[in-house]
Amino acid sequence: MNLLIVFKIAGRALARNTMRSALTMLGIIIGVGAVIAMVAVGQGAKAQVEAQIASIGSNLLMVFPGSTTQGGVHAGSGTVTTLTEEDSRAIKKELSSVWLSAPTVRTVAQVVSANQNWSTAVTGSTPAFFPIRDWSFESGSPFTQSDVDGATKTAVLGKTVANNLFGSRDPIGQIVRIRNVPFKVAGVLSPKGQSAMGQDQDDTVIIPFSTLQKRIMGVTNVGAILVSANSPLEAAVAQEQVRLLLRQRHHIPPGQDDDFTVRSMSDIAAAAEASSSVMTLLLGSIASVSLIVGGIGIMNIMLVSVTERTREIGIRMAVGARGRDILLQFLVEAVVLSLAGGILGVILGVVGSRIVSAFVHWPTIISLSSILLAFTFSIAIGVFFGLYPARRAASLDPIEALRYE
């Protein structure tokens, strides 16, 4: 039998029971719509994380003191003080794959202007910090190497800090006090927004490394070393070179664990990406459950339909329909139901994602692959759940079917 005719017959049979067909389709519509919308939310979150990580710089390496495992005991990074400013200098000087290197040390401090105060993270570093973080200036300029060498009281403010302390006034040349030490503001950084972890990256003050060490904290150790590879492609090479150099400088014999940790942004990106992939998968599979429930709805209705149309099946068999003709007819009916539901579901999913974006302000990305997947899946569901009722129809005895009232 011509497949086009089969589709025509199926379409007409479904049109006779408009309400029933629509309700049956609703299960698939909601299922497909949910899969597409949920995956769009997941993908959107993933893309956002990726974009934020890219904004930090994919050629960035971070060296933390202390190993993740020391003699079998898990020590948190930063609990030991094994890194020095000399290490940072050596990394820059000796490694061909490294473009810049900057030691950093951090603390949280109260920053006070003439009439405002603000608690923020204060980072001490060298001028190389700014290009490493790819951070430009909104106004003013960075402090210089001679500021670092002379431990001058010069500060660069993040945009959030500048706003909170000075409002609309120009902070350049003004004095801020950090733990009661007066600093002259040299520059204001351009805003970077939230980090991948949800922190406000602009809520910060950067001062010369030596000034923070000596005048504010009274320490000599380095909190972390930021290293920038020549290019994202060289990041992995740089990561290994930094590790070997520091092992050598720290006189670590072979077989013993590192007393520091080198992390690349791609490591962090991979971790973040993995977690958002898990989220996408989770959302998608919850939505798929509703798709399966929709499929069961189709099976239910098809079984009812086969029973109702037993006599029709008998007539068709009497005039020469073979078992497979009947099978095909009911199978196609189930597939048409799920296919139409799939198409409407794609529309619902796309519209739903837009609504989520517009009202909840979550980023959503509708990928073609999720549409194709949901679509294919809905057809597969039609075939799977339509097969049993269709087989039942095809295996009817023509005489019994003709007698059926």
Partner: protein, 253 residues
């Protein structure tokens, strides 16, 4: 040329648990082409069972059945479906039309399972409807047609594949006397064109239009005789003779 239908010692036994019921007990029958046979008998006499087997809807438990020289017993369901499609037309008491489906589409139904082209299908179905006198009712739905017209659509459907055999199971059971005679006139006309017709009926008034009457009782053929002076339905209609038959006797039509 072999006879159209040849059965030898045909048995049909139904088994329900321990109980065996023989609906047919060794039927041997031979039907030549272009015969018009009425099969009579009380209900439960096995006439419907025989029709189902002759119509390839069912298979005998024992015995041989040759249709147009082909042994039916060994065929698979798909082959039987093919034979029903190509060689046999069915007409039922309850018309058995697909409701909410136009007359022409009902007639087209058997052609769908033969794979003829769209144009050929429409032409053949139209032709069959013309033949039963319903050329102007193509797009009517069954519920817009009278009982007689519905049965004509069913006959057109039985005709459309140009079968050799039409099996009619109580075709006039739901019709009034005048319409019954009209339907029998149509069968006679088709029979004159060479189609073999077998009508199951329990009304002697209907059986008299056939050329041979086979009477059944308890699964065996009780009598098988030619009709000596068979009645022309057209003549009955033109003379209005049907008035004196079952309506006059006060039977429910």
């Amino acid at each position: 040329m072999p006879p159209l239908i040849q059965t030898e010692n045909l048995w049909k036994i139904y088994r329900t648990g321990e109980i065996e019921l023989a609906a047919l007990k060794g039927i041997s029958l031979s039907v030549t082409r272009a015969e018009f046979i009425a099969i009579m008998g009380p209900s439960g006499s096995g006439k419907s069972t025989l029709m189902h087997i002759l119509g390839c809807l069912d298979r005998p438990s024992r015995g041989r059945y040759l249709l147009d020289g082909v042994e039916i017993g060994g065929l698979k369901p798909n082959d039987l479906a093919r034979i029903r499609n190509q060689k046999i037309g069915f007409v039922f008491q309850g018309f058995n039309l697909l409701h909410r489906t136009t007359a022409i589409e009902n007639v087209e139904l058997p052609i769908l399972y033969d794979g003829l082209s769209v144009r050929e299908r429409a032409a053949r179905a139209g032709e069959a409807l013309e033949r039963v006198g319903l050329g102007d009712r193509r797009y009517h739905y069954p519920n817009q047609l009278s009982g007689g017209q519905q049965q004509r659509v069913a006959i057109a459907r039985a005709l459309v594949m140009r079968p050799q055999l039409i099996l009619a199971d109580e075709p006039t059971g739901n019709l009034d006397t005048r319409t019954s005679v009209e339907i029998m006139a149509l069968f006679q006309e088709l029979n004159r064109d060479g189609i073999t017709i077998m009508v199951v009926t329990h009304e002697p008034d209907v059986a008299r239009y056939a050329s041979r009457i086979i009477a059944f009782r308890d699964g065996i053929i009780r009598s098988d005789r030619p009709v000596s002076r068979h009645t022309d339905a057209k003549e009955v209609l033109s003379k209005g003779l049907f008035e004196s038959s079952k309506d006059a006797r006060g039977e429910v039509p």
